[in-house]
Subunit: 450 residues, 2 copies
């Protein structure tokens, strides 16, 4: 009398599961998915899958969670310029010129890149959020979208009213997958009244706040002047009451007292090492933050200050800059870095009950990472393996073979299934020229048409 096999939607077969669970499990196992959730993890699951993803010679990891980014079109367009020239002559006019069509192209470009790199969740902050949400609806990514609110006259952003409209429309539309938050840009670009008003609104709608915080010494100086001597962290606490529903990007300039407050309140800290380095803003004290019990995740920031959305590169640089800063090779070990890019970021976004690790019952948000290339070897097959070390130090976004969100396959064998990469790049190439032309900076930057 044969027992019938359990029908499941998806089986990820033949890989090594790097679970990022409490036990740091690394085990050869298949992963079965039913109704969007992980239904089983094991070697001989008695299941009848509808779809099989081959994970031979690959690692199956929790999909990466990008804890801070902007979806922009400007990658590689304004490099190597002096800061003031960049800001005043290019960045601000260009940000002001963004129309929905440019934003749609930006969202397509960024989301295609994230899927291709094994990122399954992101939180962004930028313009025209309806366009971003519409692309996320199509792409299948798990998105927290924060309309960027800027008060300064030269700044480019959405109004509080726009943001309310967006939150009203989206925040319960695709529960668990697309969330609408508020994105006051920063303490130096929004008024105290705006922050206070936004805090009231987040209570009304039960959503979070995504903001830049303590990114640079210049910011700390400005805020001290504005607030009568407070640090950015203390000032933000005065304005909104810090809590676990706040995602604070950067947090480079923290006193021990600031850090203690962030820990006490469970504020989500989004560490963006590449952006901090590229902008010369110093190095956040991540090992100290983790030791203090802070909630720390990893973000790429925008493709303008990174310049890619590769969470592997971000992991590698996160480890590298701390070893460099401290001179201590033992800080931020590989396992801790991988955790920061998955469970850490999930905690930052307050979604760690749902994603960030591979455990039965959690959403099936997975990245299958090819380990076949010479660059990812050797793999020691004896006792504890070194797969985590290879993932953090040697792999890249381009090694991702399949990407799955909520059990839905968004990329299989490096083919995007929800977005058409040819359409994406054609749109991006066309719209960047249109955007630069609209902003009046095309010929200034790239010279006359050839």
């Amino acid at each position: 009398m044969g027992r019938s096999k359990l029908p499941v939607d998806l089986l990820v077969r033949g890989g090594t599961v790097v679970a990022v669970d409490a036990d740091d499990t690394v085990v050869r196992a298949d992963v079965a998915v039913a109704d969007g959730r992980i239904a089983g993890i094991g070697r001989d699951l008695d299941v009848e899958p509808e779809v099989v993803l081959d994970a031979t010679d690959a690692a199956v990891v929790p999909g990466f969670v990008n804890a801070h980014m902007h979806e922009t079109l400007d990658r590689g367009v304004f490099e190597d310029l002096p800061f003031v020239e960049w800001l005043e002559e290019y960045a601000l006019p260009k940000d002001m010129a963004y129309e929905p069509r440019h934003m749609r192209a930006a969202a397509m470009l960024n989301q295609a890149e994230m899927i291709a790199g094994g990122t399954t969740s992101f939180i962004d902050i930028f313009r025209h959020p309806h366009e971003v949400a519409a692309v996320a609806e199509r792409s299948g990514l798990r998105a927290t979208i924060s309309p960027q609110i800027v008060d300064t006259p030269a700044g480019a952003g959405e109004t509080v009213a726009d943001a309310v409209g967006f939150v009203e429309h989206w925040h319960r539309r695709i529960p668990g997958r697309i969330r609408a938050w508020f994105g006051p840009h920063a303490l130096y670009s929004c008024t105290p009244e705006t922050y206070r008003c936004i805090r009231e609104l987040t209570c009304v709608y039960d959503v979070g706040i995504h903001t830049h915080l303590a990114e640079s010494r210049a910011e700390a100086g400005m805020i001290a002047e504005q607030s009568g001597g407070l640090s950015p962290v203390r000032w933000l606490d005065e304005l909104v009451g810090l809590g676990s529903d706040v995602v604070a990007a950067h947090c480079v300039e923290l006193s021990d007292d600031d850090l203690a407050l962030l820990v006490e309140r469970g504020v989500g800290i989004a560490h963006c090492p590449t952006s901090n380095a590229k902008l010369g803003n110093g190095i956040a004290r991540i090992p100290e933050m983790l030791a203090a019990g802070a909630v720390v995740g990893l973000g790429t920031d925008s493709n303008m200050t990174n310049n890619d959305l590769d969470m592997f590169e971000e992991m590698r640089l996160a480890a590298l800059v701390q070893k460099q800063r401290t001179g201590d090779p033992t800080v931020l070990p590989s396992g801790q870095v991988l955790r920061m890019a998955t469970m850490g970021s999930a905690r930052v976004l307050g979604v760690d009950h749902r994603v960030g690790s591979i455990e039965v019952g959690k959403a099936a948000d997975l990245a299958v990472v090819d380990l076949r290339g010479a660059h990812a070897r050797p793999i020691v097959r004896h006792g504890r393996t070194n797969i985590v070390e290879q993932l953090v130090w040697a792999c890249s976004a381009r090694d991702v073979r399949h990407t799955v969100v909520d059990g839905r396959v968004l990329m299989q064998d490096r083919q995007l299934l929800t977005l058409d990469v040819e359409e994406v790049v054609e749109l991006a190439d066309r719209e960047i020229v249109d955007l630069l032309r609209s902003a009046g900076v095309l010929e200034k930057r790239f010279g006359p048409a050839t």
Copy 2:
């Protein structure tokens, strides 16, 4: 009366040539190759090619030149250990345990990775050079191989006699492609007599010296003690007479006087930003060196301190750490970084007459880099394009589509043609376990077999 087409061996068709020549030419053009050399660059070359490589939606760049590396097997094996434990308990025993079979596996692994990443030339320094040369003979890469000479009893290296035997055997065997040099490890690991003796030998054989120099503050301290107060640069000059046939890896700890001497003598400086960061050795003053007229190239160092041989990542980090160090976003602009990884490194190795740029008459050492992915876009098609920025900041080794050395195709459409990647990774996985077991560190590091 029709003119007959010129028969050529190879045509790289439809790409954008980033020539890295004196004019920084970036132009849509085909590249024709005859007898291993670049025979023509243009849009409508009147040629009849034997083989065509498709470069549509791709950049055609000079093959990268890795100016300092060791071919080792240890990637991702000894991460996150305290320095002394790492050195004494793992690194030294393991280096001593290297047998030719391990070195063969290491050379296969490293050379496969370099080909896959568009590197066409490298200079290494490590053990069992005959194995490395034999693999290079097969792989088709352009190699300068420096047997690592170490005098200290705990050090692992070849003897001067071994090195002489190697140079005798190889230095004129495959002219222009495989060169045999001398690799005294460092001023703290070789005696003054060894350096002096090697300098006499390099004059006899007309070959160069590849050594580590001024890598860390600790080294500078040791040398000052040993030499009666000299800097590593001055002490090396005393011992060997610095010249353009010396490749000095790292050069982090340089006084202005040291730098002036390196410039005056045309010494090749191999900058290894990832390794310097990972080992916490500080940041070399590259913009200052370039401004002073130094010969500077880019190297990955070994897969133990990097952990990959991806020259794109090395370019990105080179730019990043200088912007971070100086707080000036204009330093090391993208074009200069690309030049450092190609022509710069070629000058370091003294082979810039032959490789490092795409110019008629030079050897056809080329990498064709795919720009189809969302991560490499947008590309501005108006006036000056932004392809160089995308290459430096957004592309990776895994975007390389074809690799060519001396007109011979070593990789086509990501398929290695001279090495079998399955054989390479199987060998690497097997030999790393054997090496660790021979060194007596396998179970200490990875626990009992599972």
